[in-house]
């Protein structure tokens, strides 16, 4: 398990020639009856889709990297590979240190449980110990501004409260690599400010951040580097402003009919 400590500016996240192939089965037999009927009709029809195609990427320590691209370009798949949710069809992934493995904030929340119980459960799901979670509980509650609601089942929370709690849990536990998937669109302006302040702290502490968004303004404002994905491959990689420009041009043929006037 323990890799030699990396002190220099070497890569924290290394993705080497990774391909993730999905077999898209047309009407996959979900029940035995369907299986038998497919069997009689000889075989199942399917096609293979490479959601990520022979992709290599190195993310150095302390970098805030934006992953941008159209829907279906492979952003989420790539994040899931890095977080260890998918085992890639081929290629190699290496992550130095802990990665907050929640792809979606609050994915591990259970609606019947209270905020406090969810903090613990979510932390344990991310691989932290009970002791550590209890230590951080109060600062999570404070950051999320949940107040007295903390002992109420989270189904009674507003969606903003849930997101705040989820963000607080994900960032309070101090992962080496933080994955943010389109979350900063939620919460009011004040809380968003707080989130970015915290992300800033993360960067100052030398943590690596992978950020997926469609909001180009935040990419240009906060990120060190942007990677544009298209059909599972890297189309552009570099300065956020330049890559965002390429992305806009990529969209424009589709957008053109909408902005004729």
């Amino acid at each position: 398990m323990s890799e030699p400590r990396n002190t220099g500016n070497s890569a924290v996240v290394t993705v080497e020639n990774v391909t993730q192939r999905f077999r898209v089965i047309h009407e996959r037999p979900d029940t035995l009856r369907e299986l038998f009927s497919k069997f009689l009709r000889k075989g199942v029809s399917y096609h293979d889709l490479d959601a990520v195609k022979d992709l290599s990427l190195k993310v150095p320590k302390g970098q805030m990297l934006a992953l941008i691209g159209r829907n279906g370009s492979g952003k989420s798949t790539l994040l899931k590979i890095i977080a260890g949710v998918y085992r890639p069809t081929s290629g190699r992934v290496h992550v130095e240190g802990s990665v907050a493995p929640l792809i979606e904030l609050g994915a591990g929340f259970h609606h019947e449980l209270t905020g406090r119980e969810n903090i613990l459960l979510n932390g344990l799901l991310m691989g932290y110990s009970k002791e550590k979670m209890q230590e951080r509980e109060q600062s999570i509650i404070d950051f999320a501004e949940i107040g007295d609601f903390i002992d109420a089942p989270i189904k009674q929370y507003s969606s903003g409260m849930q997101t705040r709690l989820a963000f607080a849990v994900a960032t309070e536990v101090d992962p080496q690599v933080l994955i943010l998937d389109e979350i900063l669109a939620v919460g009011d302006a004040g809380f968003q400010q707080k989130c970015f302040a915290r992300i800033q702290n993360f960067r100052e502490a030398g943590k690596t951040i992978l950020y997926v968004t469609h909001n180009m303004a935040s990419v240009i404002q906060y990120c060190d580097r942007a990677v544009l994905l298209e059909k599972g491959s890297i189309m552009a990689d570099g300065d956020p402003a330049e890559v965002a420009e390429i992305y806009k041009n990529l969209l424009s043929p589709e957008m053109a009919p909408l902005v004729t006037s």
Partner: protein
């Protein structure tokens, strides 16, 4: 197999939290809450005692204890299996978003039922006292058949939870299987009721050996023969090896099918 032990230990806190969550959610919004874990077997006992002491009379003294000594472990087995068969599919949303060892879900489902099993022995002990049935020292032996039963249950659970990921019919088949299995296992009757020349068929049933240990120690105050104990553990470990082996082989693909 080593993976099972290591990961279970490593994620013990998560497994425990998931098991508690399961219980909490199960008893949520009920006035008596956790008390149901005790009341359920107690009320079942009451019904069975009434039925079998007034309507269907067997020539077995203290039939309720005779029955419950094996019905409680059977209930553990069948409930674990019915819950856990859905444990991977039911946690699909989580599996798709969090990198977590998949085995925590079936293990947690079984653990939550272990809590129920242990609690259900409290009303049984009370019944033993109430019916003036001797309280045998062999109760102390119970952890041994419990261990074998838990291992056996885990093995079956891993197998069926895996199968259910690929074919959702499995969850339904398990229900049918369990009710058939209930009747071919000497639970409401004793193996002695079966003509000796047919008993060998019943002895093919892998759960019979462990069940036997429960009844002997609670009802008869005897310890099982060592051959029977060995058979119960052999069945348990074979089930676990096969079940977990299959689970392990497929676990990386679960995320694409849940």
């Amino acid at each position: 197999m080593k993976e099972l032990v290591v990961e279970t230990y490593r994620y013990r806190e998560l497994i425990w939290a998931l098991a508690l969550k399961e219980l909490k959610v199960r008893y949520k919004r009920s006035v008596l809450g956790f008390m149901w874990a005790l009341l359920n077997p107690a009320l079942t006992m009451l019904v069975l005692t009434l039925v079998f002491s007034t309507i269907m009379r067997f020539a077995i003294p203290h039939y309720a204890i005779f029955l419950l000594s094996v019905l409680l472990p059977w209930t553990f087995f069948s409930q674990s299996l019915s819950y856990a068969v859905e444990s991977i599919v039911g946690n699909g949303e989580l599996i798709k978003k969090v990198s977590v060892p998949k085995l925590v879900f079936p293990v947690a489902a079984v653990v939550s039922n272990i809590i129920n099993l242990l609690l259900s022995f409290i009303p049984l002990a009370l019944l033993v006292i109430a019916m003036r049935h001797p309280f045998y020292l062999t109760w102390l032996y119970l952890p041994i058949p419990m261990l074998a039963l838990i291992i056996f249950t885990l093995g079956m659970t891993f197998f069926f939870a895996t199968a259910n990921v690929y074919y959702r019919d499995v969850a339904h088949i398990v229900q049918v299987l369990l009710s058939a299995w209930f009747y071919v296992t000497p639970i409401i009757y004793a193996l002695d009721f079966i003509p000796p020349n047919r008993q060998w068929i019943f002895k093919l049933n892998p759960i019979i050996y462990v069940i036997n240990g429960f009844r002997l120690s609670v009802y008869y105050g005897q310890l099982p023969k060592w051959q029977s104990v060995a058979a119960s553990f052999a069945c348990a470990f074979i089930a676990l090896f096969i079940g977990f082996g299959i689970f392990r082989k497929y676990q990386d693909h679960f995320v694409f099918y849940v």
